[in-house]
């Protein structure tokens, strides 16, 4: 269990860094061009590491199903929805909704055992855990917002 959590923490730290880097790119370039750069480099990196670890095995796609070829659509959906949400709402509200929705949907997929997941029964424990985490996001995000407004006024 610990190993799984460590992997999730690594992924989360890199996602956090990537968000900062991508927004720096987005300051100068449009969102479609940013999308192309981010996904293009993601592809190059995955392909290189895949070749390194798997060699020729990387090209052996035995149990390929048709919808796997369209999974990239989800990635474009992520970038588009998050960017549009951020454009229309304040960053604090937008990101809080994104994070809460991520967690809520995870709980839903886990409890119905979607896409070959082992179903995790939805109990009071799950509900409590997720509500406390969402509460934590709100405390974290909304107090941060006040702080930045105060420092803007001060400067």
């Amino acid at each position: 269990m610990l190993l799984g959590i460590i992997f999730a923490l690594i992924a989360g730290s890199l996602v956090g860094l990537q968000n900062i880097f991508n927004s720096k790119v987005n300051e100068h370039a449009g969102s479609w061009a940013t999308n192309v750069l981010v996904l293009g480099l993601g592809f190059l990196a995955s392909f290189t590491l895949g070749l390194l670890f798997e060699g020729k095995q990387l090209f052996r796609l035995h149990h390929m199903q048709t919808w796997y070829w369209f999974s990239g659509v989800i990635g474009v959906g992520v970038v588009t929805c998050v960017v549009q949400g951020l454009k229309r709402l304040s960053p604090t509200i937008a990101i809080s909704i994104v994070l809460a929705s991520q967690l809520g949907f995870a709980l839903f997929l886990d409890s119905i055992g979607a896409m070959g997941l082992k179903p995790v029964p939805f109990t009071l424990k799950e509900l409590l855990g997720v509500l406390i985490i969402i509460g934590g996001i709100l405390v974290f995000k909304f107090s941060g917002q006040q702080e930045s407004q105060q420092s803007e006024k001060a400067s």
Binding site: F7, N35, V78, C81, G85, S151
Partner: protein
């Protein structure tokens, strides 16, 4: 209202991406799944960029070179995410991922990394992260 819907679907897509990758990797392997999802996403993004006539890639040279390489993290992100989902399920994976993500944002703000305006650490942020860690502990019990 439209903004709220976009943000909601943004979150749903992020989770869906992890689960879809984890499903695909069971059949064809994790690196294969990462390569294919990034490749097809890249192709779609190129098509959209061309059809919306976005020529702003010319401005990439004005971005500090380091920031251009954020995309490469995706390989490690997908591998770690898929491995975590296989080991501890979606809810716990996403919860731990959120904590790490917010901690990086918090450290960036308080240390003023990457040219971000430095902000003082305040009690509510510690309480927020504390609550999130408590929630993850409850989920993993």
């Amino acid at each position: 209202m439209k903004g709220i819907l976009f943000a909601l679907f943004g979150g749903i897509f992020i989770t869906l991406q992890g689960v879809a990758n984890s499903r695909i990797s069971q059949d064809i392997g994790t690196w294969q799944a990462a390569t294919i999802t990034q490749m097809t996403g890249f192709i779609l993004a190129v098509v959209l960029m061309v059809s919306f006539r976005d020529r702003t890639w010319q401005n990439f040279k004005r971005v500090k070179p380091m920031y251009l390489f954020g995309g490469t993290f995706a390989a490690v992100v997908i591998f770690s995410n898929v491995t975590a989902i296989h080991k501890v399920g979606v809810t716990l994976t996403i919860s731990a991922l959120l904590i790490a993500q917010l901690s990086v944002a918090f450290l960036t703000d308080t240390c003023g990394w990457f040219g971000v305006t430095k902000q003082r650490m305040r009690l509510p942020q510690f309480i927020g992260i504390g609550m999130m860690v408590a929630g993850v502990l409850i989920l993993s019990m």
